[in-house]
């Protein structure tokens, strides 16, 4: 067999082919991480869990005191809490598939050995993404429980929050994996974080509704995946508007479905030359 040169663009399109993932194998990669996490969870969990709590205290309660004004009929701190839950799901997922996976990929060369077993690169990628989603769920759910204890949960639909958190995790884990599979050096993550993740955290509707943004910036904010995560969590935990929740869920499903295949396929391309 010989290879004929592929027409231009087909390589790009190939990234969206549905990847050949063996889920039992992916689960084995997931389990490796779960076992390690269980061993050191006190060490890992605390910083990631406290970060959003600190935002809640400083901005929600501290700054909220000066704002005084109610937003959407609730105190400021109650308004921002669901968005912070969404952000903690995002951060948990992104951190896992960026720095953590990159170290295993490039420095520990873990996957070089793993793919000599029946675990294909696709399985490893899917397992890592699944693990990132698990972390999103852990942080997000823990935060929603704190919200409930503080009396910031105002709708019984909050029981569906894990679904939203998992969707946010899946979308962002996939997105982070695309970055990991493409960057040549670990230092380049700073671009991803300072140009993408941080602005999204600040301007996607966690701290103020996006209609406060300049006219031109609003559509941009609307298209960011975090915005829909924030609005979904707010609908579930605060307003209980299930129709709104449905729309944002759909948006997140579409986003995840668009980013998951290239995440897995590009990881294979990174590993197999």
């Amino acid at each position: 067999m010989t290879t004929t040169p592929a027409p231009p663009g087909s390589r790009l399109l190939a990234a969206w082919r549905w990847p050949d993932v063996s889920w039992p194998q992916a689960l084995r990669m997931w389990r490796r991480n779960a076992v390690l996490f269980r061993r050191g969870w006190r060490l890992f969990v605390i910083p990631n869990f406290f970060e959003p709590v600190l935002y809640l205290l400083s901005i929600g309660l501290g700054l909220g005191l000066y704002i005084g004004q109610r937003i959407m009929g609730v105190e400021y701190v109650v308004f921002i809490a669901p968005g912070l839950a969404a952000a903690s799901a995002m951060n948990g997922a992104v951190f896992e598939v960026t720095y953590n996976v990159y170290v295993k990929l490039q420095y520990l060369r873990l996957y070089d050995a793993v793919i000599t077993t029946p675990l294909e690169p696709e399985d490893a990628a899917a397992g890592e993404i699944a693990w990132a989603v698990t972390r999103s769920l852990m942080y997000g759910v823990a935060f929603v429980i704190v919200m409930a204890l503080l009396g910031y949960v105002r709708s019984p639909w909050a029981v569906l929050a894990p679904v939203g958190l998992a969707l946010i995790g899946l979308g962002f884990a996939s997105l982070g994996m695309v970055v990991t599979a493409t960057i040549p050096r670990m230092e380049l993550y700073t671009y991803f974080f300072t140009l993408f993740i941080t602005p999204m955290f600040l301007f996607s509707g966690i701290f103020f509704p996006i209609d406060r943004l300049p006219e031109a910036a609003q559509p941009v904010a609307w298209f960011t995946p975090l915005h829909h995560g924030v609005e979904l969590l707010r609908a579930l935990c605060l307003t209980g508007d299930i129709a709104v929740a449905g729309v944002h869920t759909l948006w997140l499903v579409v986003f995840a479905a668009l980013v998951f295949p290239p995440a897995v396929n590009l990881f294979r391309r990174r590993l197999i030359v």
């Binding site: 194998q25 060369r109 873990l110 050995a113 000599t116 197999i272």
Partner: protein
């Protein structure tokens, strides 16, 4: 397809990185059972060939069958039958020594109970039983290599592929790895090993292929290679005065070949004593003279024009 007459069968095998052919048209039949060695200097294409065989790098052209299965076919099923020691250090440093074995057993879908038993057996095999719960960073280089070999056996593979399993080890550590590999060979496993140590090839391998610039330039048993590519005896002339022309003049038709390698001149011959006497008489060996049996190192020198380990 006869999985039993060849363990690996390559025809016109090519691997290109861009325009560069790292493997440039290889035909190879590796028989089952016994140890097959791939010899070659750095950059010869050994690792590239191993990666194609272990299904982690797709060939650019040609065909490659491993244990009777096309490497483009069901990779997961094929890899289930292989044990692989990749080049370099690829242990899972987040896990303990024993967990490195059990985790790979799990990736190979070996049942939980069996994995535990095998891990204990392999720890004993690798001489690491007392290090079961140690962290990887606590191990010496030799221990890590033994663990890598043990890890490659956790699925009880039919074919074990080892890419430079002893490079960088001190002689004692190397001996211990060799001893384990010989044991595997005795147990009837097929071993495929790359090396640039002649001694390793000579001690371990039943058959050898010499790889150079991505091609197989010689193949056979060590004895066949010696017979085909060198004379039985070698006279080494050490000394600044010696140059090839002069040596030629002195030994004339008695030598099969004369070659200059670094600061030595090698004379390949059937009759070493006579040549040695003449060289000494002519005063060419100012820094000494050595008469010895030909070795694989000589085969390699003659085939590729330079030494294996520089």
């Amino acid at each position: 397809m006869g999985a039993h007459d060849t363990a690996i069968r390559a025809r016109g095998l090519v691997k290109r990185y861009g325009d560069y052919a790292a493997v440039d048209g290889i035909d190879l039949d590796i028989p089952p059972a016994g140890c097959f060695g791939i010899l070659g200097p750095n950059g010869a294409g050994k690792t590239t060939l191993m990666k194609m065989i272990t299904c982690v790098s797709p060939p650019t052209a040609g065909s490659l069958e491993v244990l009777g299965v096309d490497v483009h076919g069901d990779r997961r099923a094929l890899k289930h039958r292989l044990g692989v020691v990749p080049q370099g250090e690829t242990l899972d440093s987040d896990l303990t020594v024993r967990e490195n074995l059990t985790s790979f057993g799990v990736y190979h879908d070996v049942g939980r109970r069996v994995v535990g038993e095998r891990a204990d057996q392999l720890l004993a095999f690798a001489h690491l039983a007392d290090r079961a719960d140690a962290r990887i960073e606590e191990l010496s280089g030799g221990m890590k290599r033994r663990l890598l070999v043990a890890r490659a056996l956790v699925n009880d593979p039919e074919l074990v592929v080892l890419d430079e399993p002893t490079t960088g080890l001190d002689p004692q550590a190397r001996q211990l790895v060799w001893e384990r590999l010989r044991r595997l060979r005795r147990e009837g496993k097929t071993l495929l090993i790359t090396t640039h140590y002649m001694e390793e090839a000579q001690r371990l391998c039943d058959r050898l292929a010499v790889l150079h610039h991505g091609r197989v330039i010689a193949e056979g048993t060590p004895a066949e290679l010696l017979a085909a590519h060198t004379a039985p005896r070698v006279v080494e002339v050490h000394g600044e005065q010696a140059n090839v022309e002069e040596v030629y003049r002195v030994v004339g038709g008695m030598a099969r070949d004369v070659e200059s390698v670094g600061d030595r001149i090698l004379i390949y011959t059937d009759d070493g004593e006579e040549i040695a006497a003449r060289i000494t008489q002519a005063g060419l060996a100012t820094q000494g003279l050595l008469l010895r049996e030909a070795s694989l190192e000589d085969v390699f020198l003659r085939l590729t024009g330079h030494a294996l380990v520089d």
